[in-house]
């Protein structure tokens, strides 16, 4: 995400740069509403997500309840 830098008055100084909000809006609007898959940018990110998030099918060393079973 992009960091927001805000300028704020400070005691004894003119203005200082302060790091702004670093969270995503809780109520996104328009096209972004409810979407999450675009958070993964590159193909590498997507493949890595599949190995962890969809590990039930794609992880090489972890098979959930089937890990102790001989593959069919």
């Amino acid at each position: 995400m992009e960091y927001k830098i805000e300028k704020k008055p400070a005691p004894g100084r003119d203005e200082v740069e302060v790091l702004g909000d670093t969270f995503e809006e809780g109520t996104p609007e328009g096209e972004e509403l409810g979407k999450w898959r675009q958070k993964l940018d590159s193909r590498e990110d997507k493949l890595r997500y599949l190995q962890s998030g969809e590990r039930y099918w794609f992880s090489e060393e972890w098979f959930g309840s089937e890990k102790r079973k001989t593959p069919a």
Partner: protein, 656 residues
């Protein structure tokens, strides 16, 4: 005092429009259902019309038990027994349903391949991640290849699965390992999707397979080819092309129609054209054209499963489900109803002729006499979509008086694909079903039910759907829904997170509130029942609830079913190990042996079985009893004290 007239629907807007139809002199499905009772012999599967020596009727004797002599006489002219006839009829229903879903899947695969080859302008691959997922599933090389190169391989492989002559479908690999092995042992792993359907038609031809168990076995094989094959291919490729659904806010009910706008209803099942209509309806030129005709804009809404498809991905409002298609036209506000395939009543054209609505058929597979036909050309989809939207706009000035749009739109949240449920429960860095499994194990969630299926004019519209789902969530059963059940639930206000507080049991409500989800999760259209299979498999694979779907505390139901597709869906759920209850009527009761096989013996073979209960509350209780049986078998039927181990206790463990 005058007796209160029984209403035909639990939905107030529908009741008002049924009354308006009567005043307008319009004949609807509700009138026809009153005027024509179902054939008592055909409805129990005791009529065979598979050759011209018949039709042969082999009904059970009335008002008494069947004697061995009666049974001996219950044969068709060719000698086929009541069992053979009932089984033939049943698996022909499976074939019809599997064909419908799978031909939908084939259509998607054909378009997918055209898109991959750059021959379908207007479409693109929207979900690269799902493309990668399917490529991994199907063993297609990813490397540094472009999305289109990968997609060409996926499209070709998908199409080849329909005509595969040997081996087993590649999509079966998604199932739990134990289930795959069981299918192999039973000899029901499907080869090609088409092959299994064709084999049903062959084996039910006169003088071929005359062993009811052997016939029913082929029904299982074809149904698996539907749920784990044709339907799954449709869902996966649609996700790649149009995006994997994520939670989206939408509206439901006939009240979504707007008096001052051009109303276009997209009705049917396939999202291929409707995706383009959604895009075209937002084009400034089209909106300007609508304004030039006196309208304030264009209002798009959906009907039946097309509605679910465009809701899941775009939040387009749903006007109604199967039994509301004629009623939408009765409002007098629908300028065009665009239809493709499946669950489209021929009578909509007759109803439309009483108003100004144009019925626009778009598929070469599904035409209606009197309707306007604008054929959908996937190679120039935008052109087809623009012609359709223009036809609707130009029809706006032809509205007759008496526009009446009852009902207020109801909010709903849809878009719960397997991928999104996984993400919602675990987040981006550790997407997981663990919280669901943990809450099933600790008893907050008693179990999970898939409630799906159609409407049926033989029962009160939406009553079975809504009553069953309310009873399940009241008893802490999380409900996954698709199809017309999802629309009924939306109209009843069950698809919003607030419904958990109002309708769900304490345990389920706690979980829903924590995660921020409704107690009833909308997973999409009827081909998207494959998403329920994948979600059930993810629960198995996450662990702690057995090694197979048949061990899970889950159940399925279609309380208002009517189509052959519903029978195919039920059969593949049973074949996947799920106890499945249907309402309204049961099509094999003409044969006790066939019915017993489906209701009892299938459990020994597949771990799941059919059941029939027309009362939706009693049916929900049967499902809950089955869920409790599975909880007991897993040893999670009693609350257990959780012990937090301190270091000393841990050392004692290590010493053992």
């Amino acid at each position: 005092m005058a007796e209160e007239k029984e209403t035909k629907s639990i939905d107030q807007a529908s009741i008002e429009l049924i009354e308006k139809a009567a005043k307008d002199g319009v004949n609807t499905v509700f009138d026809r259902a009153d005027a024509m009772k179902p054939c008592p012999i055909g409805s129990v599967g005791s009529c065979c019309k598979n050759c011209s020596m018949g039709p042969c009727r082999v009904p059970l004797p009335k008002g008494r038990e069947e004697t061995p002599e009666d049974k001996q006489k219950r044969r068709g002219v060719c000698g086929a027994t009541a069992e053979t006839i009932a089984a033939r009829n049943f698996i022909r229903m499976v074939a019809g349903g599997a064909a419908a879903h799978s031909d939908h899947g084939r259509g998607v695969a054909e378009l997918f391949l055209a898109v991959a080859k750059g021959k379908a302008p207007g479409y693109e691959i929207k979900d690269e991640q799902k493309l990668m997922q399917v490529a991994l599933d199907w063993g297609i090389e990813i490397g540094d290849r472009s999305n289109n190169e990968i997609a060409v391989d996926i499209g070709e492989k998908a199409l080849a699965e329909f005509g595969r002559q040997e081996g087993e479908l590649i999509t079966l690999r998604k199932a739990p390992l134990k289930r795959q092995e069981l299918w192999r042992q039973q000899g029901v792993s499907p080869r090609g999707i088409d092959r299994e359907i064709v084999e049903i038609m062959h084996r039910t031809h006169i003088g071929v397979d005359q062993d009811y168990k052997n016939l029913l076995k082929q029904g299982v094989r074809a149904a698996i080819g539907d749920g784990w094959g044709g339907s799954m291919i449709a869902t996966e490729l649609q996700d790649i092309l149009f995006g994997t659904p994520a939670p989206v806010l939408g509206k439901a009910n006939l009240g979504v129609l707007e008096k001052d706008k051009v109303n276009i209803i997209i009705h049917g099942h396939e999202p291929l054209l409707s995706e383009m209509i959604v895009a075209v309806a937002q084009e400034p030129e089209m909106i300007e054209l609508a304004k030039s005709k006196g309208a304030k804009g264009i209002n798009l809404s959906g009907m039946c499963c097309t509605a679910n498809e465009i809701l899941m991905r775009h939040g387009v409002a749903i006007a109604g489900n199967f039994l509301q298609q004629e009623l939408a036209i009765v409002t007098g506000a629908v300028d065009a109803m665009v239809v493709d395939v499946q669950c489209i009543m021929q009578s909509i054209q007759t109803v439309a002729e009483c108003y100004h609505t144009k019925i626009i058929t778009t598929s070469p597979k599904a035409k209606i006499p009197g309707a306007v036909h604008i054929e959908f050309d996937e190679h120039d989809a935008l052109k087809s979509a623009r012609e359709i939207v223009k036809t609707a706009i130009e029809n706006f000035p032809n509205r007759k008086g008496g526009v009446y749009i009852p009902g207020e739109p109801v909010n709903q949240i849809a878009g719960f694909s397997h991928e999104t449920i996984n993400y919602l429960l675990g987040g981006l860095f550790r997407a997981s079903y663990r919280p669901l499994n943990d809450n099933i194990i600790n008893g907050r969630i008693r179990g999970v039910a898939g409630v799906v299926g159609c409407n049926n004019a033989r029962v009160k519209h939406n009553e079975g759907h809504v009553n069953m789902v309310k009873e399940l969530i009241k008893n802490d059963v999380l409900v996954l829904t698709t199809g017309c059940n999802a629309i009924a639930c939306a109209e009843a206000g069950l698809l919003v997170p607030e419904a958990a507080r109002e309708f769900a049991g304490k345990g389920l409500a706690e979980v829903c509130e924590t995660v921020g989800i409704p107690p009833v999760l909308h997973l999409g259209s009827c081909v998207d029942n494959s998403r329920i299979l994948i979600a059930a498999t993810a629960v198995v694979k996450d662990g702690g609830l057995g090694d197979d779907i048949s061990e899970l505390p889950v159940a399925g139901a279609a309380p208002e079913w009517m189509s052959e597709k519903a029978i195919s869906i039920g059969q593949y759920f049973v074949a996947s190990g799920v106890y499945t209850v249907f309402g309204v009527t049961w099509p094999t009761t003409g044969s006790k042996e066939v019915t017993d096989f489906l209701f009892k013996e299938m459990e020994e073979m597949y771990g799941g079985m059919w059941d029939f209960e027309p009362d939706p509350i009693r049916a929900a209780h049967l499902m809950i009893a089955h869920i409790d049986k599975k909880r007991k078998a897993l040893g999670i039927d009693k609350a257990r004290e959780r012990v937090l181990y301190d270091m000393e206790m841990r050392r004692e463990l290590d010493a053992v």
